[in-house]
Symmetry: C2
DNA sequence: AATTAATATTTTATCGATAAAAAGTTGACA
DNA sequence: TGTCAACTTTTTATCGATAAAATATTAATT
């Protein structure tokens, strides 16, 4: 027999899980499936297909698609339906340049305004990232949900202290857009130690308020995807002419 | 009696007007009504109200609302509905800072990459703006659709040559967000000549590739709304420490 | 009079059905 | 054999109806 207390608890759990709008569920699942590559670039997102696949009605699916359009993951074409956005070198370059602009400003502001909690947050995220990589050193190349999450959160933490909701939101957005490209490289990642060392260096530079160093590291980090996928020179348009400040 | 030819023509016109998705129509009308202040900040956007007002079904209305949520004009709250986003000083400050970052980078890139057509575009928009103001000097303070459009396009033209779709889109987006605040001031605008002179100076600086001057003018321009509405000091976080480059 | 409980009302979120495009197919004619 | 036109199928965009929440209202009890 179930006591009243338990019933209430379960009801809360139920609503806690199910009270999330179907639209939101659809957004999350579509987002995930697009980032993971399950839904490839260019693929047509037919309503009836999606309704069948996700077992969600057409209205919430449609609403979810609309939301993802504004996030540049999906393209809506007049009366012809929805499609997963195509990838291109020009697009990745645009993403990367914009990201650099947004993230560097966010980091700059965080350095200026960030307090103790912000610093603690950066350290904590770095720590989580390191622990995970150390524990999964062998399967490092594999796509791993948890690693994705930690990596995203690490980068988010760097600008978490900036005090600008818009910069934070934009950075997160651009991260998602870049992820589809980065994913392609994931299987080729080799050296966990190198990976951790890189991120540690960035975190340290940020916490040391060394804007110049942090910016340079971040630029290298962001452009590495572009370089490795398209074997192009970065052609960084941003902060390229930044003065060499004595550190 | 109507000939076959006319019938076809009318049908085309009909589809020409109506083939635009109802969702898109709803987006435009909501966008307009929010920017114009017809739908005030904080107001609840009840579905049935909107359905009745716009004479559009609930599905397209809902889709339109979803899209505008990602544009920061509307807030969606769980199962409680949609609301026009509130205004606040902190929000305008965030908008303004972000705008400055985006626009200045866009202008910088336009200066670097913009060709003849870009320059022509800037001049043309400046000209259109001037002509309109000169012709409507007396009713200058009034809200005027056409002036809004021209002003928006003028600012868009400054970064039109930057080659970054994302910067362009972001700038436009932020313009809309700022517009709700700027609108409050519109009735107090006094001097058409001053208005035109300001914009002319900005256009000239941009075309002369004087980044420093253009940045300063743009900062002043953008922060003037903040200053005038909230009587605050700008506290510009951006480019504040920029060196005084000899022009 | 105030706080809670029970009820009624409104409104959202969602589904299933439908009309209208778009895409695809077939067949006729040059 | 190729092109155009009529027709069929598929799929989108949209509506009206409904179940489930949230909100407002009333009643009851202390």
């Amino acid at each position: 027999m179930v006591s009243a207390g338990q019933e209430i608890f379960m009801a809360q759990q139920d609503t806690g899980a199910e009270s999330v709008t179907l639209t939101e569920q659809a957004v999350q699942r579509l987002h995930h499936d697009i980032l993971s590559g399950k839904l490839s670039p260019g693929v047509k997102l037919g309503i009836s297909n999606l309704v069948a696949t996700y077992e969600i009605g057409a209205t919430p699916i449609r609403e979810a698609l609309s939301r993802l359009v504004s996030q540049n993951l999906i393209v809506a074409s007049g009366r012809r339906g929805f499609f997963v956005r195509e990838l291109s070198e020009a697009d990745l370059r645009d993403i990367t340049n914009t990201r650099l602009l947004i993230e560097c400003e966010g980091i700059r502001l965080s350095m200026e305004r960030g307090g103790d909690e912000w610093e603690a947050e950066v350290l904590a995220q770095m720590h989580r990232l390191r622990l995970f990589v150390e524990r999964h050193g062998s399967n490092f190349g594999e796509q791993h949900h948890e690693l994705d999450r930690l990596h995203r959160q690490f980068h988010a933490s760097l600008l978490a202290g900036c005090g600008s909701p818009r910069l934070i939101q934009l950075a997160d957005n651009l991260y998602s857009q870049a992820f589809r490209y980065r994913r392609i490289l994931m299987t080729t990642w080799s050296d966990p130690d190198h990976y951790i060392a890189n991120h540690k260096e960035l975190a340290d530079a940020v916490l040391a308020r060394d804007l110049n160093h942090a910016t340079n590291l971040n630029r290298t980090h962001l452009f590495s995807t572009l370089r490795r996928i398209y074997q192009t020179d970065p052609q960084p348009t941003l902060y390229a002419e930044e003065p060499k400040e004595p550190r």
